[in-house]
């Protein structure tokens, strides 16, 4: 083993052990639990069963929860990307003295807890909230419209909450681009739109992939925001796990849901990275 290789292993070992301890061990535990039989008084019985996965995959109610979670996660990812890209582009290309302040403003929402930010959205979106009051005052509507307790409210709040997770990977990707490439394209007669579509955007792909993976996985596992802004029908996988663990005490089924969520998130990450690598190679 070369000196460099040995040093490499030395650096990787502590984090590897940490992952083994805090990620793989609990993951293995709930994977195991997911194939045990539920019992109200014993929590679970050591009797292997496929019942939990059958219930999850073949019951229309649980299938609906899975579809809803994926739909919200995908929509949030797309909208966050659409909002974050121009912002990241501006931050990367704008070299003025205010850039630090703008960067701070992007990070600022992360300095308050997710519950505080979500309650802020309740104040804004409620029937008696700021938006409805303003619209009535402007004469645009006669009576409050239903914004709160809709999927739209959840997606809007998730986009706001997760914006920094998309902006910073994009910013890193855009700021690392060679500006000469754009100048070369311009010299060869390309329009601004074509330069963006064929040079800037493809070179931003690593940032897009990283930001999208972060936003997708965080949205798919979200609990607080969908629960507070989504209303009674907004059952997503995160809320389902929370309820099954804390209220129903059906841990085997909760473990099956958690395993499925991890599998879905992992599949999306693999597909995303594979797709991005494929396109880069092409």
């Amino acid at each position: 083993m070369t000196e460099t290789r040995r040093a490499g292993w030395l650096f990787v070992t502590p984090i590897g052990l940490l992952y083994l301890l805090i990620l793989l061990a609990p993951l293995s535990y709930f994977l195991l639990l997911s194939i045990f039989k539920y019992s109200a008084f014993e929590m679970y019985l050591f009797e292997p069963t496929a019942e939990n996965y059958q219930r999850l995959l073949f019951d229309p109610y649980y299938r609906g929860v899975i579809y809803r979670t994926l739909r919200i996660a995908a929509t949030t990812t797309v909208f966050t990307l659409l909002v974050a890209y121009p912002l990241a582009y501006f931050l990367a290309r704008y070299g003025g003295p205010g850039r630090g302040v703008l960067m701070f403003l992007v990070i600022a929402p992360l300095m308050s807890g997710v519950i505080v930010r979500t309650y802020g959205w309740i104040v804004l979106l409620g029937a008696e909230g700021t938006i409805n009051t303003a619209l009535i005052w402007l004469g645009a509507i006669q009576r409050p419209i239903q914004i709160l307790r809709t999927e739209f409210a959840v997606i809007m709040a998730m986009v706001h909450i997760l914006l920094p997770y998309m902006v910073f990977p994009l910013f890193s990707a855009i700021v690392a681009q060679e500006r000469n490439l754009e100048q070369a394209a311009r010299t060869l007669g390309a329009s601004n739109l074509r330069i963006f579509l064929e040079v800037t955007l493809p070179l931003s792909r690593p940032g897009i992939v990283m930001g999208s993976v972060l936003v997708f996985t965080l949205t798919a596992g979200a609990i607080v925001t969908p629960q507070l802004l989504g209303g009674k029908e907004m059952k997503v996988l995160g809320i389902l796990i929370y309820d099954l663990v804390l209220t129903t005490l059906n841990w085997p089924l909760a473990s099956a849901v958690a395993s499925l969520l991890v599998l879905l998130q992992f599949s999306v990450i693999v597909l995303y990275f594979r797709g991005a690598r494929g396109r880069a190679a092409a």
């Binding site: 109200a40 507070l228 309820d243 209220t247 841990w251």
Partner: protein, 358 residues
Amino acid sequence: MTQHRSSHRFTRRQALGMGAAGVLGAGLPSLASAQAANEVRILFAGGTWKDWYEQSFTNDFAAANNVKMNWRTGLRQAPLAIAQRRRPQWDLIHINQTESAQIGTMGILKPFVDAELPNLKDIHPSFKYEFLAGKIHTPYGLAVNTKRITRKIDSWLDMWDPAFKGKVAFPQFSWVGEEVFHAVNQVLGGSEDNVDPGIAKFKELFKSNGAILGNNVEHAIQLLSTEEIWIMPLFSARTDQARAKGGPVEFIVPKEGGLSWIWNTGLIANRGKASEEMAAKLVNMTLDPERQIAFSRRTGYPPTNVKAMKNLPADLKKLEISDADLEAYGKIQRKFDYMTMFAFKDQVTERFNKEVLA
């Protein structure tokens, strides 16, 4: 300033010995706690409730007994106690009578006995259960916006009035909704293992009358104080807090009976003698009349100790509860069969999610 550096160097054998001791210490907390109870490990609710509890009990308790309070806060702590039942890591768990009966029967809690808790004899019989005695009594009924609802409200079933469409809230099952659902189900003739009447009725409430879910105390207060909701099941003092925040709401005890919650910390079993004694000492303090009056002043809820109830100061006289009040508050809840409720928890929750909420 002189810096001291230890000249002691550990040999490999000593290091291994310390490692093994650490592993044993982590694996056998009960044994460690039996040697010296220098801390009380407590599973508790967070927010204002913890602040008031600290101010009324634990700040003084920790100082007087030279112990450190080790907290873990959250709404539902019973699952953790169940998960750790073979090797408990906590001394006390904040709980109500429903969950105390359920996890007590599973052997997780120690019974409340006079020998360990001298103040227990002074607690009103309505607030004493096998595994818990309330430090407080929290009456539960309907919070009603009296500005928007002018007709008389005196029944749980008033929530179904079409005039309140879109203005009704019901607590989440993960909060206290499960018990309130069972209460209404019983009013409708159902039982813990027959929830058909409740499911059918609540389907109407959510589908036809546009009810929404209240997630917790803060959410309920926000819904009522902004008048987004006009009627919902709630605790008496939390209704007062919603009124203080601008919501024109009053607390009503329905004629079918309200719910009579009692809250305190249950004594977790198998924690070792020293820890269990220290935990019991703290619980006993929560049953003390003077301490209960101080807690009542902070929370706005009536005490459970008979001496405290008789000696309420003038400013707290409004908290006095008559025998008739007691009868009305606990009318439905006293009939609950907690273990049947527990056995059917999974099925009832799933039916509620699928048939009522979806």
